[in-house]
């Protein structure tokens, strides 16, 4: 960004020394010097030294204030730039973070899906196992019931006229 050159007394040194510029800078300086010299010779030179001082004093004061304000603005500008840079960095960081999060989220979703698949498979397997265990338990319960019935029947005395007994077998 190029700051506009402040109005300057012709006899004052230029702030910051020689200005950097393009190839037209010496010409502009030369033209400005001419205008300043013309203004001086037509407006200032005819005034008395006292008058000149009286005219110049408030101008100088305003000039000083302006310079001060300019300095402050420059400082604010620098600060703003830093803030902008900071914001940009933050934004970049956030964006990066967001991208990372998206990637992480996608990876996490994929992982979750994988886990869900595994869980489903495990559940299916458990269901099958459970059904098999249920069948097994039911079968075992039936056998226990049969065994109990058998035991109750055996507890009753065997009928006396068992053919094997009768046949002596």
């Amino acid at each position: 960004m190029t700051d506009p050159a402040p109005a300057q007394e012709a006899d004052e040194p230029k702030p910051g020394g020689a200005r950097k510029g393009g190839s037209g800078a010496p010409a502009r300086r030369k033209r400005r010097g001419f205008l300043e010299a013309l203004a001086f010779s037509t407006v200032v030179q005819p005034l008395s030294k006292r008058m000149r001082r009286a005219v110049a004093r408030p101008i100088m004061k305003r000039l000083a204030k302006s310079r001060l304000r300019l300095k402050e603005m420059r400082a604010e500008l620098v600060a703003s730039r830093e803030q902008i840079a900071e914001i940009r960095r933050t934004l970049d960081a956030l964006q990066l973070q967001s991208v990372r999060r998206e990637k992480d989220a996608a990876a996490a979703a994929a992982e979750t899906r994988k886990q869900m698949t595994q869980i489903r498979a495990a559940l299916d397997s458990l269901r099958v196992q459970s059904a098999e265990a249920g069948k097994e338990a039911k079968a075992m319960a039936e056998i226990v019931e049969r065994s109990l019935l058998t035991a109750r029947l055996r507890a009753a005395p065997k009928p006396a006229d068992s053919p094997r007994d009768a046949a002596g077998g």
């Binding site: 097994e136 079968a139 049969r146 019935l149 058998t150 029947l153 009928p159 006229d161 053919p163 094997r164």
Partner: protein
């Protein structure tokens, strides 16, 4: 139900001895094709003609194979044999089916029990066959029942020895029969030019197929001569690949291992015919049918040196040790390249196989059984005790008409027999007549201590499901209280079962929509849902002759008619004019009003709308009548509102009374005593009974009933007059007027009433039940064996 087959039945002489045979191993079509099934079928096909074989099949399994069906005179669906008509019981496969199914026969006095015994391979190799606790426990249970047989037909000497060692059966009770050759052996084609060695095996480590394959692969001579080994038996592809790989590892050509799979009998015969020799490397066998088949086919057998093979192959040269593949390879080479050895082997083995022809094996099984049955014909032991009966029924306090009814019957039945009652009813009320009231379980069914078992079936799924399940499994007598069982099946056994039974009974597919219509209107019912009871019961008992006729026409089973008993009684003193006046006063009906009662819960099938219209007609004719529905109107469901509205609309609200709850007995009795007339109607037939109509008859109350209902209850026509089954209100009103004008009017015919009361007394019912069960309770001692 399977129809009787004339074939074998026609051969039976009048003096035939009946023997029950467990056919469950022939209800499984896969097992029926294997060793057990083939042997069992051979025994049946060659049973002596003097035996009447009665097959026992499990109704929950598939139909028995037709070949077995032709061997028996009839099929029964349980092992009840309440009247003990059979003197013998034969178990064709003791280790493969639930022994409790026939447990009653196993302990019944006077029954001689014989079993075929195949092997004890699972018991001797539990790591292979009895890994799961369920299987192990089941096997142990079956073994324990095996010990209870009287005679054992072992298929080999080694099985007989195992039977003694493992089960403790004395050698005297064992007969070695061998296993029966199939009828297509010996093959008619003879031996052809040999091309292969033959392994007839299966995918079972015990068959030791690997060993045979390895020995074949190790023989360079066999490999060079390109002699294949044909492996007959069902193997999964991966096992077949593994066997080929095994041959390759042992230095053989895998292409020479010919996995033939399971092949037809015809092809098996061809395969035998082209074999140099049969090789059987089994680690254990009960018998080796392939060895005998090969002998019959003229092919030499070489087999592992195990007990079952030693019985068939006496020469040590024909056996090999199962740990020396090199020795077997040498034997295989000799079998292929030494023709003289082969001829000699065929010659020395030729005398073995003829004794395993089916007829000879069967004779070795049946002859000792016949001898024992002849000895069994001695007079039965007489026991001087009352018969014991197990009854399965709901009892009070269950809110079931059947529970109340049976409580009265049990009181009288208990005077004639030793009666144990098995019931699901929680906290059953004390029952006069019952020696014991116990929780419902199968004990009463399987214990032979009970001379008879009686189950009570009703159309309520709430009270009869468990009773029905046990009855269906174990059989016995069955009192079918209701003339149709739709609600029981739909509510208790589910839609699928109900539709399946309906389809089976009607011989066409019945859908849920049609079933839904039947449930809404029982008059449209397509079938009775009584076929399973008819199939399992011995005998089936019903309470009405018309129901019995319908069942006989529908299912071909003749039920015994057991006239419905009156379990409510009125003495003459309760029916005096003074008692009747007092009853009417309690009811609140004036003397000059004709009180018409309709007893029993109100239900759409009882035509309450027609009763209301009939009352309107009576009043139109100037008869000062009122109508009381003496039962809970809750049975009308959503129909109670419209019924009440109709009564209001007809201006009869002051002359009709409804009850919103069950009536206490004293109030119900007041109506039996105080009413002038009764109306008892059913809009559907089926010979269904009305206990309320019997109550009317017991009270001598002049009643109008429709014909089917009156016939079912067989009530006195002197005071129970009828309308057609397709009645209307006018007809009902006409008969009511007729009863008043030309019948008994408001009087009771006491003599007829008392005679009917006696005929329908619970005592009479109990005696009739005993007669139907063929129980002699007339004072003579009961014969222990009714069939003797």
């Amino acid at each position: 139900m399977q129809p009787a087959v004339d074939g074998r039945a026609a051969l039976l002489s009048p003096s035939s001895v009946s023997v029950l045979v467990d056919l469950r191993c022939l209800q499984d079509p896969i097992r029926a094709k294997r060793g057990i099934g083939r042997h069992a079928l051979a025994l049946l096909e060659h049973a002596p003609p003097e035996l009447e074989l009665i097959g026992i099949c499990d109704p929950d399994m598939r139909e028995v194979i037709p070949a077995a069906r032709e061997c028996v005179s009839r099929i029964v669906t349980n092992g009840y044999d309440g009247e003990r008509r059979s003197k013998g019981f034969v178990q064709l496969s003791p280790m493969t089916c639930d022994p409790l199914f026939v447990a009653r026969l196993m302990r019944m006095p006077g029954v001689f029990r014989a079993s075929v015994v195949y092997d004890f391979i699972p018991w001797k190799h539990p790591d292979l066959y009895l890994q799961r606790p369920v299987v192990r426990s089941n096997h142990a249970l079956n073994l324990s029942w095996l010990a209870d047989f009287d005679l054992f037909g072992a298929i080999s000497e080694s099985t007989g020895r195992d039977l003694t060692e493992i089960v403790g059966v004395p050698a005297a009770a064992i007969r070695v029969t061998g296993a029966a050759l199939r009828p297509d052996f010996p093959p008619s084609g003879g031996v052809q030019s040999p091309r292969h060695l033959l392994l007839v095996v299966g995918n079972d480590p015990r068959k030791n197929t690997d060993f045979g394959i390895r020995a074949h692969a190790m023989s360079m001579r066999l490999q060079r001569a390109r002699i294949p080994i044909a492996v007959v038996g069902r193997f999964p592809d991966r096992v077949a690949d593994r066997l080929r790989a095994l041959a390759s590892e042992a230095g053989g050509d895998p292409q020479l291992v010919e996995m033939m799979g399971e092949i037809s009998e015809e092809r098996l015969l061809e395969t035998y015919a082209r074999a140099h020799a049969l090789v059987v490397p089994s680690l254990d066998e009960g018998f080796s049918l392939p060895v005998v088949e090969a002998m019959a086919a003229g092919v030499p057998s070489i087999a592992s040196d195990i007990p079952a093979h030693r019985e068939l192959l006496a020469a040590p040269a024909d056996r090999f040790a199962v740990d020396d593949a090199t020795a077997l390879a040498a034997m295989l080479e000799r079998a292929v390249f030494d023709e003289r050895w082969r001829e000699a082997a065929v010659a020395r083995q030729a005398s073995v196989w003829p004794r395993f022809r089916a007829a000879e094996v069967a004779e070795r099984f049946w002859t000792p059984l016949l001898e024992r049955l002849d000895r069994q014909a001695a007079p039965a032991v007489l026991r001087r005790r009352r018969p014991r009966v197990a009854m399965f029924t709901p009892v009070p306090p269950d809110e079931s008409g059947i529970a109340d009814y049976n409580a009265a019957a049990i009181g009288e039945l208990g005077k004639l027999v030793e009666l144990d009652v098995f019931t699901e009813t929680s906290a059953p009320a004390p029952l006069d007549g019952a020696a014991r009231v116990g929780p419902l379980d199968a004990f009463g069914h399987v214990s032979s201590d009970y001379d008879r078992v009686v189950s009570v079936a009703g159309n309520s799924s709430r009270y009869h499901r468990a009773i029905f399940r046990l009855f269906r499994r174990y059989g016995g007598a069955c009192i079918a209280h209701d003339s149709r069982m739709l609600n029981f099946y739909r509510g208790g056994l589910g839609l699928e079962k109900t539709l399946a039974l309906a389809s089976r009974e009607l011989g066409r597919t019945v859908g849920a929509d049609e079933l839904g219509r039947w449930l809404l209107d029982e008059a449209s019912l397509g079938t009775l849902f009584l076929s399973e009871i008819a199939e399992s019961a011995s005998p089936m008992l019903v309470h009405s002759g018309s129901s019995a006729r319908l069942i006989a026409a529908t299912y071909g089973v003749e039920p015994v008619v057991l006239p419905f008993a009156a379990h409510r009684h009125l003495s003459p003193a309760e029916l005096t004019p003074a008692a009747r006046r007092a009853a009417r006063e309690r009811i609140g009906v004036a003397e000059d009003v004709v009180l018409v009662a309709s007893l029993g819960s109100v239900h759409p099938t009882k035509a309450p709308q027609d009763c209301v219209r009939a009352l309107g007609l009576l009043r139109d004719r100037g008869i000062p009548a009122c109508l009381h529905f003496v039962g809970n109107i809750g049975g009308m469901g959503d129909g109670s509102g419209p019924l009440r509205e109709r009564v209001e609309a007809m201006g009869l609200a002051d002359h009709i009374r409804f009850f919103d709850d069950h009536l206490p007995w004293p109030l119900y009795r007041d109506y039996m005593v105080g009413a002038d007339l009764a109306v008892q109607l059913r809009s559907h037939g089926f010979g269904s009974l009305s206990a309320a109509l019997v109550d009317c008859a017991i009270a001598g109350l002049p009643t109008v009933a429709n014909e089917d209902l009156a016939a079912a209850a067989d009530v006195p026509s002197e005071y129970v007059w009828t309308v057609p089954d397709r009645f209307d209100a006018t007809q009902v009103a006409d008969v009511l007027v007729d009863l008043l004008a030309n019948g008994p009017g408001r009087a009771r015919r006491e003599a007829i009433r008392l005679r009917f009361r006696e005929e329908r007394s619970p005592r009479h019912y109990a005696e009739s039940l005993c007669r139907a069960l063929a129980l002699d309770v007339g004072g003579d001692p009961l014969r222990a064996d009714a069939g003797a």
